[in-house]
Amino acid sequence: MPKVDYKNLPVNYQTSVQKAEMGLWEKIYYPEVIRGLWITTGHFMRNMTVHTLHLFGLAKDKRGAVTYQYPEERRPIHRRYRGRHRLTKKDDGSERCTACMLCETICPTNCIYIVPEEHPDPTVEKHPARYEIDILRCCFCGYCVEACPCDAIRMDTSVVEIANWDRTKMVFKKEYLMADIEGPGAPPKDDPPEWWLK
């Protein structure tokens, strides 16, 4: 086998091909294997101890695994995470949206569909008769939230389970987007947060 001079390769090769030459210590294989096994044994022993203590109800504050047990235990989601959209409401419970069409215009995937309608209250101009988001096409860019002049649409829900057996049900209607979310995925209650106002 031709011997490759790893030290003097052209620069662009050096990063990809450069390997440390193995010394005799590594070539015997056993010491390095034992070193590797030592690391995994350490993890095994530590986690096994924690699991055993848990069995007896001890050391509950220590975790034996770094993984989240998903349906029961949810990963904490940052409050700036862009989850499923929701339409915010006025104090009287009607939608804040004025059907200005800005979100529909900016949406890069054309997935918002709005049918405006005259508002029964003569002092208010319009409101959406239909407001639909085809979530299958949405790319979660958040432009709609940024475009909205009256804070009528938000993506602060941290709903991650957006799935259905039926495509037609993935077009979210206005009522669904306005409904309160219970349990996991509910938008943060303290909005805006106190530390943010300071």
Partner: protein
């Protein structure tokens, strides 16, 4: 008549223990790998909401395999395709027949050796049946009518035949020390003392032999880091065309092999069923203390010691599997022919010299 009945009972006992242990090993492998990698592992299979730390998983796996479609490639060889998993499964089980798992059990005037067959060529028997497993893998690759399976089978053949040589030669030293091929006699020999205090275990009289035998056996059973014939994750292996219970047999054979090899490591190098300083009448410590024990307790301690050693080596094999990356094929062959083989010969020469001097 009575003897036949006792032998049959022993065979049944060993068979059921082995198969049960293999099922548990599938669970152990998953759980241990998970714990090593800071995960929890399979814990969702439940019966009426009781999860029992995932112990139902092996049953669920078995049920799944029974209900899966049992597919035979239309242009494959139907007969050989069926034969291959049996050929892979059967030798793994049979090897255990010559491994003694305890000393003689005396009930009244009845003497029951706790070993199915006390062959005086026990070790050659193991080599012979270890060699038979090659047929299972090669035929599986050949009969599948799939190029990648065939290549996997050929890789398996080359690897296993090469390592057969290494396994055989690395053990010659041990046979020279104890002067017998009979496993029971080797185990008895290991209960003697070296320098008056050290048990004469294989690991103490043949340290180099063990360091060579261990990787050779792992390669022979196609476990990671030598699992090129299977290479489940990237390169395609010899049982690609298998599904359902036929695949299940291959899978199960692998776990039985782990257990049998663990038993073999314990038997050959770690004193088998021996507990240090424990003899048929009880403990005889080298500093003169004595502690007599009833016969049944001694037998119980010996069987326990055998199973503890076996469990440790099962644990070690799973640990190795989930720690080391796979060898490249040329490295594998190089390790065998230029690494283990010359050292095994050197081991034989050294052992011979030492035996001549002592």
């Amino acid at each position: 008549m009575l003897e036949t009945a006792i032998t049959l009972a022993k065979i049944w006992g060993v068979l059921i223990t082995l198969v049960g242990l293999a099922a548990i090993m599938t669970w152990v492998e998953r759980k241990q790998s998970a714990v090593m990698q800071d995960r929890l592992g399979a814990n969702r299979a439940d019966v009426f909401g009781i999860r029992l730390i995932g112990l139902f998983q092996p049953m669920a796996d078995g049920l799944k395999m029974f209900w899966k479609e049992d597919f035979i490639p239309p242009r494959g060889d139907k007969f050989l395709h069926t034969l291959a998993p049996i050929l892979a499964f059967f030798p793994a089980l049979v090897i255990f027949a010559v491994i003694p798992f305890g000393d003689v059990l005396r009930i009244g005037s009845l003497e029951i050796p706790l070993q199915i067959a006390d062959l005086n060529v026990g070790y050659l028997f193991i080599l012979a049946f270890g060699g038979l497993t090659i047929y299972g893998t090669v035929i599986a690759g050949w009969s599948s009518n799939n190029k990648f399976s065939l290549l996997g089978g050929l890789r398996a053949a080359a690897q296993m035949i090469s390592y057969e040589v290494c396994v055989g030669l690395s053990l010659v030293g041990l046979i020279m020390v104890f002067g017998t091929l009979e496993l029971d006699a080797i185990v008895r020999g290991q209960n003697e003392l070296l320098f008056g205090f050290l048990p004469k275990w294989g690991i103490f009289v043949q340290p180099l032999g063990f360091l060579l035998f261990f990787p050779a056996v792992i390669a022979e059973t196609k476990r990671v880091p030598f699992d090129l014939p299977e290479g489940e994750s990237e390169i395609i292996g010899y049982y690609t065309e298998y599904s359902g219970m036929r695949f299940g047999l291959f899978y199960f054979a692998e776990f039985i092999e782990i257990i049998v090899m663990a038993a073999l490591f314990g038997t050959l190098y770690f004193g088998g069923y021996n507990v240090p300083y424990l003899y048929a009448e009880g403990f005889r410590f080298p500093w003169g203390a004595e502690w007599n024990l009833p016969h049944l307790v001694v037998v119980f301690l010996q069987i326990g010691s055998f199973f503890i050693k076996m469990a440790f080596f099962c644990w070690l094999q799973v640990l190795i599997r989930w720690t080391l990356p796979r060898f490249r094929y040329d490295q594998l062959m190089k390790l065998c022919w230029t690494g283990i083989l010359p050292l095994a010969v050197l081991n034989i020469i050294l052992t011979g010299l030492v035996l001549m001097v002592v």
